[in-house]
């Protein structure tokens, strides 16, 4: 697992995924946490939680992403499970940095919608 591999996944998410850009910082954090965790489960071949409505929403977004990642970046299929975990943790921290911590969006922390 290298920085370059994290960057490839990050580039894909930036271009493709609207869930990282929801309206407020807490929505973005909730989506990033839920979807990256579900995607990590899927890459490990585990069955993710699908009981609560939000779990099913995370599953829907994560499944589309993982299916796409496997096609675009086939090297992901050869990674050791621990490397997959590290890779997804790296992706998550980059997403949080980009869309929340360093975002210049002045509406991100408004209390109301």
């Amino acid at each position: 697992m290298s920085q370059q591999q994290i960057d490839q996944l990050f580039g894909y998410v930036q271009e493709r995924c609207l869930w990282q850009f929801h309206s407020r910082s807490w929505d973005r954090q909730e989506n990033i946490d839920g979807i990256i965790s579900t995607a990590t489960d899927l890459l490990h071949g585990q069955q993710p939680k699908k009981h609560a409505p939000m779990d099913r929403m995370f599953y829907a977004d994560a499944k589309a992403m993982v299916d796409d990642l496997k096609v675009r970046f086939p090297w992901i299929l050869d990674l050791e499970p621990t490397r997959v975990t590290e890779l997804m943790a790296g992706l998550k921290s980059k997403l949080v940095d980009q869309t929340i911590t360093q975002s210049l969006n002045r509406e991100l922390h408004d209390k109301l919608y």
Binding site: E15, M54, Y59, K63, T99, Q102, N105
Partner: protein, 472 residues
Amino acid sequence: MPMVLLSCDKDIPEREKHIYLKVDGEDSRDFLPVSNAQTIPGTLSERGCAFCGAKLVIGGVLKDTIQMIHGPMGCAYDTWHTKRYPTDNGHFNMKYVWSTDMKESHIVFGGEKRLEKSINEAFDEMPDIKRMIVYTTCPTALIGDDIKPVCKKVMSERPDVDIFTVECPGFAGVSQSKGHHVLNIGWINEKVGTLEKNITSDYTMNFIGDFNIQGDTQLLQQYWDRLGIQVISHFTGNGTYDDLRCMQQAQLNVVNCARSSGYIANELKKQYGIPRLDIDSWGFSYMAEGIRKICAFFGIEDRGEALIADETAKWKPKLDWYKERLKGARMAIWTGGPRLWHWTKSVEDDLGIQVVAMSSKFGHQEDFEKVIARGQAGTYYIDDGNELEFFEIIDLVKPDVIFTGPRVGELVKKLHIPYVNGHGYHNGPYMGFEGFVNLARDTYNAVHNPLLKLAATDIRGGQRKVFLEAAE
């Protein structure tokens, strides 16, 4: 490359904060245009008013609702019939316009009585219609007409009618965007949860932020029917007032236009725990992805794959025919906001088109985060662009086609650059698989239309007296 100060803006240097040229290696952490901010004095903005955002974009789409505009005739006329959102009941919303037609004496003596009379007259004239939205406008808000008690009085006298009020005069915000916000928040607080409808499927959703432009909603509805998903409410394409009162019953909120309608999806999540799933409905690859996500949520993936396979078999060869002929075409997108990020990658991936400049009238910084993430380096990203800036940008990026509204469209036609109506479409619908072929066809017809080049030919040569254009 930081923000750009165009030479036409030398006397309004504040505009620099609104125009960004992306270069490789940069992203929205480095530069993000200022947006949803007051228009700078001296710039000829293309924006609409806040009232227009509520009425023209969202409320006026409904197929069974009188849109009573409490103000002078112009406010009503200017927000009627300029968007093409048909309905399956004979286009009631586009056939009629309602106004209290405020004149000087009403402004001086107050307009509440006139409003009450107009509401009753409208219901009397249209006895089959029992739903109404009443809007304030600048003049009636300024004189302090209190429209809510008037509507309550009418509702108490006419128990079979229901009225919703939108108090968002033109001056209430910097652009149309404020009107979207006021209508969204007013509706969730006052109307959602006041009615329940019959549930006919195990799978239910609201489809939010699609306004049936030239039939978009009706085209997508075929997909939901084939998938066996009950759409509780359409916010608001081909939608009804009462369906929107039942939004709380859906299991999922699917959001297309996050700018005009994200607020209500956020509140439905907060107040009712209904998840918000954002999708792109324009483009083959996006539409397929959206269907896959919705089906994954409901656990009906097989139905989704069958639908995608059918539609792809039917429409992909046609899309590819256009792609072959559009590859490398340069497009500019000057619309409201979300279509910038919905379209830039879909026309690039599905049609081989390069988007070279994008301007948003009412997008917020969230929209610019999305579009800068998706758009190319070397492309201009503009907030609240003005006419002179458009001329200068055209010189810089030399687009082959511009997706914009009819007003700017007329402007660029004079430069012999084809335009396609990016708001109301040329020959839509544009959503879904079939719709994107329509978009491709209109783009192809625009780019390869010989008429504009012929129109530029002038056999008089040097004998013609040339008048200076305003922009020169």
